[in-house]
Amino acid sequence: MSIRRLLTQGLIVCCLLLSSVPAHAQSSDDQAQTLLQALADSSYADKAGAINDIAKSGDDRARGWLDAFANGKLSRIEKSGQFVIVLENRGRNWTVADALTGEPIGEVSRRDLDSIRINNSLRRDLDGILAVIDLTVKDPARRLTAARALRGSIDDTMAERIGDLLKDEDDSRVRDALKEAIAIHQVQLGDVSAVSALSGSLNSEARSALTAATRSDDPELAAAAKDALKKIRQKLKWNHAAETLYFGLSLGSVLVLAAIGLAITFGVMGVINMAHGELIMLGAYTTWGMQQLLPGQPGLALILAIPAGFLVSALAGIAIERSVIQFLKGRPLETLLATFGISLILQQLVRTVISPLNRTVITPDWMSGSVMINEALSLTLNRLYVIGFALVVFAGLMLIMRKTRLGLEVRAVTQNRAMARAMGIKATRVDILTFALGSGVAGLAGVALSQITNVGPNLGQNYIIDSFMVVVFGGVGNLWGTLVAGLSLGTINQLLEPWAGAVLAKIVVLVFIILFIQKRPRGLFPQKGRAAEG
């Protein structure tokens, strides 16, 4: 503890020096080398001191070193003892630059590099220090992030310094966060008066500090903290309900996405497409492929993967339809058999051609993290996008089915094939297009799923059964049914999960489906009229 304090004290002073005053004293490279050597050679416990020395040195490259150190990218070339910053650390040879001059050196074998190691507690300290520095930058957003990060991790010296900064701070949100940070610190010290400042806070560090305070020896403090916690819990209840609902909707939208393509191929065309899961998988692999084609631009690749994934899966769907399913007209059950075979082939194809291992699909920055509604309720961004995406895909499909010529023809062919043909509709063409559409939508689901789960050969298998459940629960042949079924099954599952645990929740949902089908043998939205007997 004392080491940490000493360290932060020293660091704050010199970091402020660094950030406010432009570099004036360029220390000699020899001195820098000695500093880094000390950092490299000391044990974890002593590294704190070495960091301190580096910061105190007043060298304007210190920030860069510490940054690299925090990210595990500060290394030393084994033979020459030259310190380098690693720029690219994948593969056998790493690209490095000289830590002292900043000049690129080129590729060095991993064997010849000794990386200067860091662990969590050092990283945490460094983060705090960097946050304090960030409090003085111009950009209020960065100041806010820094201020928020400081909550729960400050000590006396920092508190003092923050108090000074608070006076000049004009952004109200930053002020609030800083005040809260100080209040948390005071509660931690046992100051009863600070409790009131935290009583409305939803921040987890504040809650953490209050919970700790309830165990305090000071009865007054304990009582005050308990009161404050009670108020917070009241507020949290609603947030939890909203959170659970969000979890449910997001799981539901995943189910909808996975099932909606099947709702077309299976629900509308009557093809029991066991390869549906693999079509989803193809979409996910397309996303991976796009990211490989466009290295460094995962976001763009992801967006381009949407049409590409649709196309790849749709083409695969057409291939399946032309090569197999068209020969099974009037024998839809046998499509189960054939498509089961296709699904085995596709899985093994991916294993052989690409790899049996999972592939990394990068989440672009704009999709990672979460949107904070308030301190206790944040919605994870990737899932938010998936919910939106599911709704857009659904709306698009509804449009196609209701408003376009193709949709009209599809409905005509499903309801009465012979009659539709008599009316001049090319049933074969409609079959191909419908199957391509359903398959393509599966591909879209794959693109979305690549942001949530593994991209591997087994991806499809994990979703195929759920997809069939959703379609049947909603009522075969009814897109609205699929939407409602997916969302409601997702929500039920998430409502049950805190009570029953993940496994039991799933079992209960399945039993629910079984019982529900007894009540309504044709799903939520049964097809009416003659089509129902098809």
């Binding site: 969590n120 979460s370 593994n454 993940a502």
Partner: protein, 433 residues
Amino acid sequence: MNVKRVIKLGLSALAVSASLTATAADLPPIKVGILHSLSGTMAISESTLKDTMLMLIKKQNAEGGLLGRKIEPVVVDPASNWPLFAEKARELLARDKVDVIFGNWTSVSRKSVLPVVEELNGLLFYPVQYEGEESSENVFYTGAAPNQQAIPAVNYLMNEVGVKRWVLAGTDYVYPRTTNKILEAYLKDHGVADSDIMINYTPFGHSNWQSIVADIKKFGNQGKKTAVVSTINGDANVPFYRELANQGVKASDIPVVAFSVGEQELSGIDTKPLVGHLAAWNYFMSVDNDANYDFIDSWINYTGNDNAVTNDPMEAHYIGFNLWVQAVRKAGTTDVDAVKDAIIGVSVPNLTGGYATMMPNHHITKPVLIGEIQDNGQFSVVWQTPSTVAGDAWSDFLPGSRDLISDWRKPLRCGNYNVVEKTCGGKEKVAAN
């Protein structure tokens, strides 16, 4: 053929220890069975182990084979199907007459194969960390027992990181169940209260971690340093870590230490948000050691993929294969009983700069390393045991197995000897010996 002649040839060949191709071609090859799933759900983990074995065998053959004979791999695919594992093991032993089997990943597949290997008196090298509570005369456990992975990791968190509250999260099967049981007992022995331990089990391939991660966050907000000990298996990890990152759980706040996440699993994840989370293994690809670099280089050359990664079970196969080779040399034959006796006490270098020794309980000595995830999908070692730890077949922290030991040397020859009752429990045939 004349066994003696073979041995003699082998020994003389050893003595010359150089180009043996002439003799090697004349003698029937030594058969090594490789029993790893190449399709189905486990292919994701096991298929690289098959390639590892093929690489090791190729290398051994290039160096002149073994006992002057070539080694011939026999690869089968048990397809992640547990009964099929037993069937394939029987096929390897009874039909192909392999001299040794390297294989299995999941506990259930090992349990399925175990009776077959015992019945047909085969040899099985099992390369994955497992729950312990087993010792078979015919199986050699080159992966970690719980005391070689879980307990040191918890010690590290308790002593070095100051963790006071524990989430034990795992997939619902025997390895996490047992490990968590052992850890729970261990933590309580060290004064952790019941209310400071949260245990959570999820099904295989669980992909919806939203509420569990939210629960972990809540559990961690109680004013005490909290850590997650994860025995979550394979495929479920990617969505778990993604959810952690998205819900803003940082390693500096709530570190997750995983026992089933290695370089290979990380190669399927975008690791930037995971930096600082931990894993406990007996080997990391990043270990700075020449033997390790050589191994990595030969692996990269073998796979032809510059970004191919190595991991702990691969090292276990490396050790297991070398132990077996040494034991065969020592025994001068591939005969199962002779090798079984010869291998105990054999030491071979591991890839982390130490030695792995086969103990009488058929477990090996291993160092325990704790690594933090880096943004390049590698681990940086932050702590390691000062010396190697011997694997313990029977945990000292479970009431049922506290008094059991395993010793396959003469005269005891017992996998579950009760030191209090002085009896060898279970199997009749063992008791009869």
